[in-house]
Symmetry: C2
Amino acid sequence: MEFRFSSNVERLQSSAVRDILKLTQGKEIISFAGGLPAEELFPLEAVRDAAERVFKSGNNTLQYGLTEGYLPLREQLCGRMAKKNMHVEPHEMIMTTGSQQAIDLITRVLMEPGDVVLVENPTYLASLQVFNLSGLRIVPVASDNDGMIISEAERLIKQLQPKLIYVVPTFGNPTARVWSEERRRGLLDLSHRYGIAILEDDPYGDIKFDETEDYPTLFALEDKADGGNVLYTSTFSKTVAPALRTGWAMGSSSVISMMAKAKQAADLHSSTLDQQTLDQLLRHYDLDAHIGTIRGAYGDRMQQMQRLLKAQGWSDVKWEQPKGGMFLWLELPEGLDAAALLRSAVTKNVAFVPGAAFYAAEPQRNTARLNFTFTTGERMATGIARFAEALNEFLARC
Amino acid sequence: MEFRFSSNVERLQSSAVRDILKLTQGKEIISFAGGLPAEELFPLEAVRDAAERVFKSGNNTLQYGLTEGYLPLREQLCGRMAKKNMHVEPHEMIMTTGSQQAIDLITRVLMEPGDVVLVENPTYLASLQVFNLSGLRIVPVASDNDGMIISEAERLIKQLQPKLIYVVPTFGNPTARVWSEERRRGLLDLSHRYGIAILEDDPYGDIKFDETEDYPTLFALEDKADGGNVLYTSTFSKTVAPALRTGWAMGSSSVISMMAKAKQAADLHSSTLDQQTLDQLLRHYDLDAHIGTIRGAYGDRMQQMQRLLKAQGWSDVKWEQPKGGMFLWLELPEGLDAAALLRSAVTKNVAFVPGAAFYAAEPQRNTARLNFTFTTGERMATGIARFAEALNEFLARC
């Protein structure tokens, strides 16, 4: 039979990033497209030791678990969160299949089709997909290097009565921007004055290149899980490894328990083998030292990519130096369509993500996201040389 | 702030099964409530060996994976399915976080709020939750020991134009019923005549007590993935272990690729550590021999529970002897409310699931689901004695 699909899923575009990933798998292409962490830094031996400890603990380790997640892991996570001035109890936290699932579950429990969500401009592509899948009206708020412009957010709040504001305040994807503390406090203030929930997505907060810098989360600034407005999500995907697909959400216990009900329907619970392995990892491995290693390596790679790009001497290719995260966000010359550039780049065996995909409306087409964490050394140099060749051909035509 | 929740999630009841599980964790209660497999039969050493092989294959084992799931595992699964006369290619299959997620994703891609889904009466509780979460209109079809009554299904199809029919034809939960082949073919015929998708949920099909019996799946009877009407889902939760949370769906490639788009938004992909471990397990472990062991043990336990119940000599407590699966479905004396019985039973430290939760409408309240796979030997005898004590008190009052 010919299947009819729901209108929301019909509207859903496949992620450009993942489609390119598919295209480039097993080929000679050097890809700056994926948001892939550095494989050679994965703490494989530590994960293996942790899993070995889990297996030693006996057969019930393979039984069904709680929807809310493995309690000892949540308890340890609460301790880690407290060190960042985020005070939360295990019942105010739920484990999810990556932070991606946290975004989906929060959306499913809070939002009706047609409800308005405010987002940064540009913002994380896969969150736009979640909002589209739930039939939301996505409204971008003008943003600059310090974050959302608060007066613009307030204007849209008055006009559209949004029910949720979605932000990635620290090293956002794709821009790697860091919100100023003033903007963070400004958004919190709006949230309280107008009674609007904030979804703070923080997958990259730990990946800061200057360890002495401190970027307080919105959740820390509000400092109130129960009764607070901020729902926070993060993940082990960037600090340990993506394969374990373990993220978490925290916030008001009323929201967390509704998320647990929705998660019962969505998948009963996430892998408990992965959760127990992470629990053992946190007990027997110095994850903070490992995060320090990642920070150093990613900072170096970011510098290398910057040097390679600067060496091209382009006057009208601009970017802000990232203070953390995994991406360089390029502004290409006015009028250049990065999607066309990608098609040409792929013929030269190099890939990146055209920036248009990250805009909820009116994309700025002369933008590109380059990942600097996955491809290193000589291979990064070769990749940037190919990218430069493609771009130079475009520039020569203008 | 006070959060307002979406109307669908407000309507969602927490699963009675899981709420009881929570209540009974770490206590002296003997629980026949959970749908828990026998822990002592989990192939822990084999899973551990398989995981060890995965870790040996190198760091990229911990990287992000494909949304559709780990390809070598899908390839092996296609081979296993072919042995059951289900012919399917890897692109017609998607790996999910348990079959629960397959049910959710299929619902999200096919159904709009208000769309009608036909279900057996009674049927699997957590699927009712999925349909409620998507705001569907759930309509039960009169069913007997041979499955849905086809003339009733046709009458409702004509009246309500359902978009989906959800069935568990082999050892359904809670009843353990097996549909006759005539009913299976009858439903397929309706599906083709009226152009309605069938979601065939088959978590228990492998757990048959008589190995020589053959119950062809609807998917096998239709024998047509692309262009076919049957979407099939199953899981490793009952044959290997639930903690690995690995299920799959298969069917028309148009539906599978839509499910992949929805899954990108829902969680990007399921644990690849679990999927790779299962792939290695299938290569180096005789899973079919293990399934044989489970069948034998579960058959014995079912017989033990039957004997214990029969020994009570109740004339008006009835059940059909299950041919497979994990549950005994009791019909208690007319007028008895099993929910009240449960409250009394819990004070005697024994638990089960009152049957009402499994009905989409007009519950038959004098029904109860007892799991016979988790609690064995003396402990099962003690549990049934406690259950009998509670029930006898009720019967004495009537």
